[in-house]
């Protein structure tokens, strides 16, 4: 996760606990109306929120919209947050619900059925060639649900059981999807698309 420009990775249980405590603290500050805390939380979680929204909506523009809306919603709802050990799951639940609401609207649109995987927002200068390959080409080779699991695991730091709860699927299903996705991605990268 990016915090103040520095990449902090969840490397083990201790770091994991630290990250969770940090997110907890930020959410409690936001509940008190601290705007800086919201900015910091945005830096920590925007990638994960974007990844989840993208995996559900399959469209970069919509995913960007939902990402922004999610943090506004967090600002408004932080007062309801109760620390139960998984602040990221709480954040992603908001993102998931907003994404599903958007899907409901789209489900009535004929063109939605033809929606293709579109992960790269237009005019995004920060996206490198490598990002493009990973996000667009490699992920396009996955099934929707495989993509969802792998994006969540990579970007959110959630444990598989938490992802299972978030996606409302059995943990075994999530695990097998994850491993299948990683295999497919590795094959793609090795075979067809050199990085």
């Amino acid at each position: 996760m990016l915090i103040g420009g520095e990449i902090i990775r969840t490397m083990g249980p201790e770091a994991d606990v630290r990250d969770r405590k940090k997110l907890d603290r930020l959410l409690l500050s936001i509940a008190d109306g601290n705007r800086e805390a919201l900015g910091e939380l945005y830096g920590c979680a925007r990638g994960a929120v974007y990844g989840l929204a993208l995996s559900i909506l399959k469209n970069s523009q919509d995913a960007q919209d939902i990402t922004q809306d999610t943090f506004v919603k967090i600002w408004e709802s932080a007062g309801y947050y109760r620390s139960m050990g998984s602040p990221m799951a709480w954040i992603l639940t908001i993102a998931r619900n907003l994404s599903r609401m958007r899907l409901r609207v789209y489900s009535h649109m004929a063109e939605f059925a033809q929606e293709q995987w579109d992960a790269i927002p237009a005019g995004s200068s920060a996206v490198t060639v490598e990002d493009r390959v990973v996000l667009q080409t490699v992920l396009a080779a996955l099934e929707d649900q495989e993509r969802q699991v792998v994006l969540l695991h990579a970007a959110s730091g959630l444990k598989f059981r938490e992802i299972a709860a978030l996606m409302e699927q059995p943990v075994n299903t999530i695990l097998s999807r994850y491993h299948r996705a990683i295999k497919k991605m590795s094959a793609q990268l090795k075979g067809d698309v050199p990085l």
Binding site: L2, R9, G33, R35, L38, G39, Y42, R46, A48, V49, Y50, G51, L54, S60, Q61, A63, Q64, D65, T67, Q68, D69, F71, V72, K73, W75, E76, R82, M84, W90, T93, N97, R100, M101, R102, R104, V105, H108, M109, A119, P121, S124, A126, V127, T128, E130, D131, R132, V134, L135, L139, V150, L151, H153, A154, A155, E168, I182, M185, S186, L195
Partner: protein, 475 residues
């Protein structure tokens, strides 16, 4: 490349591709969250400003303006939701505005933002859409509480802005169907088109009738579709706003008043589209009693008004019948149905069986021992009981407890309801689950509150299917 390296690349790519514009979020986050945002603050595009008539209605519904707000403390998000896509375009829009200010592009921009047509859809929910000359939705506004509930899942209407009219109407009809407004054969939807260009109005009218009709047919709804072109003056618009109806329905009400000037606008505004249409058809001889009063009269006559449960299944206005009446259908828990015909203007009971509960208590009638006894869950029992034969639903159809494998459990029911609502348990309050029986079927009643709304679900206890749901303002 290891799995971890692969994941790190993904994480990095998401960081690069995702939005990085915290300022736009902070600009949408107001201090003192949870307070009602003033109406002026919520209007962003200037296309719809005339909400003065609604703001004073005192029911928290005054925010049904173009921004789709509901006027409650939690609606800043919906207000802000309206600004979707604008965050990434904000800078471009500012530059564009500067360019347009000094060029003919300004005229083009204005035309794209100018309202060319106003479309209203009325069932009981009244929804108004404003379009530019290209048929793109500029704003979508809930005119009453029912409409606000229908549009809730579409950001209060904000999600429909910027898309084509047919797509927006399709989405609205879908939501109306899901909310059960077009289930009954007696229901009707009125499409009204207001446009100074009569040719365009006719084209829009024709297109919408096709869109709505197709959507209804695909869902096997037998609702009627009515449409009208109209010209609305300022006076009528104020009447519409004061009564929380669309200008299309106001136009229809005025047609009735033109036939019978003794009728009052406010009372007529409360009638359904179907009732108004029938009144016009028969020359508006008087003020009908309305579906609510018809149901009460039928229940009193049947004696079911002493029961706790709602036995009124449907009230169908038949005002264009030779004897104008309301057809009221009562359904008992035992599955038995009773029909009553209530005179539409006098309230007299024209036909139907009187005092059905006493009649059915007679041995062999199979409905049980009395009105209260038919209610599973009465007498302090919260709903997990098995009905004893003869004590509840009847001798011929006593409830059988399904095996454990057939019961999804309270948690399963809760999950089904929350999933349907698109909410998580952490987001809702006052969550209650009650196990219940209905005509021998195991059901769960799930209730919770969120975002100023009360949700009520009936979930099948065996399949987890959503049998019924309601979402209404929490007063």
């Amino acid at each position: 490349m290891t799995d971890r390296e692969l994941e790190r690349k993904l994480e990095q790519a998401l960081d690069h591709a995702g939005p990085d514009d915290v300022e736009s979020i902070l600009s949408r986050c107001r201090a003192g969250k949870g307070t009602v945002v003033e109406m002026e603050d919520m209007i962003t595009d200037g296309t719809v400003k005339n909400n003065a008539g609604e703001s004073g209605n005192g029911n928290g519904n005054g925010g049904n303006n173009s921004s789709g707000s509901n006027g409650s403390g939690n609606n800043d998000s919906k207000n802000n939701g309206r600004k979707r896509r604008t965050w990434s375009l904000a800078a471009a829009a500012a530059v564009l505005a500067l360019i347009l200010a000094g060029s003919g592009g300004g005229i083009f921009y204005w035309q794209m933002r100018a309202v060319a047509s106003i479309i209203s859809l009325d069932v009981n929910p009244s929804i108004e859409l404003r379009l530019n000359r290209n048929g793109t939705v500029l704003s979508c506004k809930a005119m009453n509480r029912d409409a606000a509930a229908v549009l809730y899942e579409m950001g209060g209407g904000a999600d429909l802005e910027g898309i084509k009219l047919d797509v927006a109407v399709n989405a609205i009809v879908g939501a109306l169907l899901r909310h059960g407004y077009l289930d009954s054969i007696s229901s009707a939807i009125l499409i009204s088109v207001e446009d100074s260009d009569q040719g365009r109005a006719a084209r829009i009218q024709e297109e919408l009738v096709t869109v709505v009709d197709t959507a209804l047919q695909m869902s096997s709804s037998q609702s009627a579709v009515y449409s009208q072109k109209l010209t609305v003056d300022a006076g009528m618009e104020i009447q519409a706003q004061n009564n929380n109806i669309s200008s299309g329905k106001a136009y229809m009400v005025n047609q009735v008043i033109a036939l019978n000037s003794s009728l009052e606008f406010e009372a007529l505004a409360a009638l359904s589209v179907e009732e108004l249409r029938d009144l016009i058809k028969i020359g508006a001889p008087g003020m009908p009693i309305g579906t609510g009063a018809a149901a009460i009269i039928a229940e009193e006559y049947a004696g079911t008004n002493v029961m706790d449960s709602n036995v009124v299944r449907d009230v169908d206005p038949e005002l264009d019948d030779p004897v104008p009446h309301y057809e009221v259908e009562l359904n008992l828990l035992s599955g038995e149905e009773f029909e009553y015909r209530i005179d539409a203007f006098t309230g007299a009971v024209l036909s139907g069986q009187q005092d059905i509960l006493n009649a059915l208590q007679e041995p062999g009638n199979g409905v049980g021992t009395g009105s209260q006894a038919q209610e599973p869950g009465n007498g302090g029992n919260t709903g997990s009981q098995v009905q004893e034969p003869g004590n509840g639903v009847g001798t011929g159809s006593q409830v059988q407890e399904p095996g454990n494998g057939g019961d999804i459990g309270a948690d399963g029911a809760k999950a089904a309801a929350l999933t349907h609502a698109g909410l998580s348990e952490s987001q809702v309050s006052h969550l209650e689950v009650e196990r219940d029986w209905d005509d021998g079927r195991l059901e769960y009643e799930v209730e919770f509150k969120c975002g100023g709304y009360e949700y009520e679900y009936t979930i099948s206890g065996t399949s987890g299917a959503v049998l019924d749901h309601e979402m209404e303002w929490d007063d």
